[in-house]
């Protein structure tokens, strides 16, 4: 027991009394003391307490939850912190638990977003590009209706399946129609519930009681409601209706309000007064089929005329166009013509470039291509083409020029070729051969006329004979040298066509001569 001396003394003074007291206690309380000690032990020992508490904890929590929300409030910070710690330690655990839920909803959301985007794009594309939309626009022009109305009438992407006219105050159905075979028999119940849901949404979610529920959607099923002061017009729609449909609902509901104002105000459950409103509801039952087309024949005729006129105009343009193109091609393919530019505007044509003088006349070619020369302005700089054809033409022209400058002279009153003139015959023969060679390549037919002359002294008849003899002698000399007979011919001009007029010796001398004149024709041309 206690070891301090002072306590020892006090204990000894009273030590008989505790014993007695203990004895008395044992006598009186006996079993209770043992129980009390056990209780003490249970209360003091945390392990025992924990074991006992664990048995009743669940029950205690359940009881507390039944009583009030105090336990939730107390637990809330603990749960929050525990969650934080858990996420910080092992984020994968929470991620794995949530993945099935989040994955599913994300997939759904993304799929929905893509579907609606795709639908929108589809509608936009179809509306803006399709033949159908052009048809609608034309119909809108013709009938004086708006494009939207026409699109609404012709669109097939949605279908109004049922239309309800519902009394706003009571939620009772005033009139109901549906596409054949797709109605519900419980229109009254649906009407009532529709009204109830309106009230429910208004009361629960909107701060202003004037806000109305106008659209409900379940999958591809849609409910549109137009709210009038006395009645609602609701439609169940399958598909994606165009926004214009709302205007139809609004318009019909307004008309119903006008026509049935009194009946709506005094409605007491008898819906027969609204049988006459069926056509208005019918007007809302859109989208099922296109209406029969009413096309008048004069319109078809007018359209055909316009189309024909357009086609004719197009053909004319095309012809003009192709003529011009053909002309330019032909011009460009022409040796000795280089086209550097061309323009065309409102029936006038301009072309410019470079042209070898030996090439064909562009204006002449234009006329041949059907382009009036008057409407064409051609500006071509002259140049010498190195084209082989032109080179030959030039050679031919040079040879021809050389031949025509040749002159075989004779003494007075003589037709005999003097030896020095024989050299000239040799030169002539050489030139003739060269010229013939080039002419063959060019396809030209050539003929050389040998013209004999005499001076005007002496008798005229004598002079004529003399000139003939002179030409004949040159002819013979050339024939002797191998020039074919069909190439040359000889004529005597007498003194009628002197090369030089006058009586001076040098003037008379050149008139006693034979000269050459080359006649050439391109092959194919008429002789």
């Amino acid at each position: 027991m206690a070891s301090k001396p002072a306590d020892l003394k006090r204990d000894s003074e009273f030590d008989h009394r505790p014993d007695e007291l203990a004895e008395l206690r044992a006598l009186l309380l006996g079993q209770q003391i043992v129980e009390l000690q056990e209780l003490h032990k249970r209360l003091d020992d945390p392990n025992v307490r924990a074991a006992e508490l664990s048995q009743v904890l669940a029950k205690a929590v359940a009881l507390s939850l039944k009583r009030d929300r105090e336990l939730q409030r107390s637990f809330y910070p603990i749960v929050e912190q525990a969650l934080q710690i858990s996420v910080a330690r092992n984020p994968r655990l929470l991620a794995t638990s949530l993945a099935p839920i989040i994955g599913e909803s994300v997939r759904k959301a993304v799929a929905n977003a893509f579907r609606s985007m795709a639908e929108n794009i589809n509608i936009m594309l179809e509306r803006s590009l399709s033949f159908e939309s052009m048809k609608w626009r034309f119909e809108a022009l013709r009938t004086g209706k708006s494009y939207g109305e026409i699109a609404l009438l012709r669109s097939l992407r949605y279908k109004v399946q049922q239309v309800f006219l519902i009394h706003r105050e009571t939620g009772l159905v005033l009139q109901h129609i549906s596409v054949q075979g797709e109605g519900v028999s419980e229109a009254e119940l649906v009407s009532g519930m529709l009204t109830a849901i309106q009230d429910f949404v208004r009361d629960s979610f909107t701060s202003q009681h004037s806000q109305d529920l106008e659209t409900m959607q379940a999958g591809e099923f849609l409910i549109w409601v137009h709210h009038g002061p006395q009645a609602l017009l609701a439609g169940t729609i399958l598909g994606t209706p165009p926004p214009e449909l709302r205007n139809v609902f609004a318009r019909e509901n307004e008309l119903i309000h006008q026509e049935f104002a009194a009946a709506l105000a005094s409605f007491n459950g008898d819906a027969s007064a609204f049988d006459a409103a069926r056509p208005h509801l019918q007007n809302c039952l859109l989208g099922q089929t296109g209406r029969p087309k009413k096309q008048s024949w004069w319109l078809v005729g007018a359209l055909a005329f316009v189309v024909l006129a357009l086609v004719a105009f197009g053909a004319l343009l095309h012809r003009r166009n192709s003529r011009w193109e053909q002309y330019l091609t032909r011009l460009s393919n022409q040796p000795g013509i280089v086209v550097t530019g061309a323009e065309r505007s409102w029936g006038h044509y301009w072309v410019w470039g470079m042209r070898d003088p030996l090439s064909p006349d562009p204006l002449q070619l234009a006329a041949e291509s059907g382009i009036p020369a008057a409407s064409l302005e051609a500006r071509f700089m002259p140049y010498q083409s190195l084209d082989e054809h032109f080179q030959r033409e030039r050679d031919f022209a040079a040879e021809k020029r050389r031949l025509e400058q040749q002159m075989v002279l004779f003494p007075v009153n003589s037709s005999v070729l003097t030896p020095d003139q024989s050299i000239r015959i040799d030169n002539i023969e050489e030139s003739l051969n060269k010229m013939q060679e080039t002419a063959d390549k060019l396809g030209h037919q050539t003929k050389v006329v040998l013209s004999g002359r005499a001076d005007h002294t002496g008798a005229e008849t004598k002079n004529t004979a003399l000139s003939e003899q002179r030409a004949q002698h040159v002819y013979d000399a050339l024939r002797e040298r191998g020039i074919p007979s069909d190439m040359i011919s000889a004529v005597g001009l007498g003194d009628s066509e002197p090369i030089r007029h006058g009586s001076a010796a040098y003037q008379l001398e050149v008139n006693r001569s034979v000269t050459l004149k080359v006649q050439s024709q391109a092959q194919g041309e008429r002789q």
Partner: protein, 178 residues
Amino acid sequence: MSQVVQKKICMLGSFGVGKTSLVARFVQGIFSAKYLSTVGVKIDKKEIKVGDQDVLLMVWDLAGEDSRSQVQTSYLRGASGYFLICDGTWAETLVTAKSIHKRALEAVGDIPFVLVVNKSDLWDKWQISAPELEKLESEGWKIKLTSAKSGEGVEEMFTMLIEEVMRQQPLSNPAGEF
């Protein structure tokens, strides 16, 4: 007169007095009871003949009232009449019925109603005293004792209410064509 007249009536009362089961066997519906707990209302219909007039009752079963939530009186709008339903074995529900009646009076005015005291089959546990009901009757209340279990009084309660409704709101052309 062949034309069916539609009337909207509501069922009001404490939570658990058996409103829904009271009419379940007597009405035609397509909506499940879960509408009551979600939207707070479930609508059924009942055809009834009053005299030679066919009446189609649209029965709006409003979610029961308890300490936490009151009946949404906006659902009462446009109703031609209503039932106040209480439980004969549970005195407190009559108190609630009275307070609902007061609020209904404010919301839709003085329209026909019938106090329905349900569970008439449980006489041994009855808590509502006859004098109490007699007092209400003397104030002009129409009262009907019913049993959802046996079906006793259910048809009559509808007839009782609708006759009162038709008396107060006669058709605009009672003579009709006949």
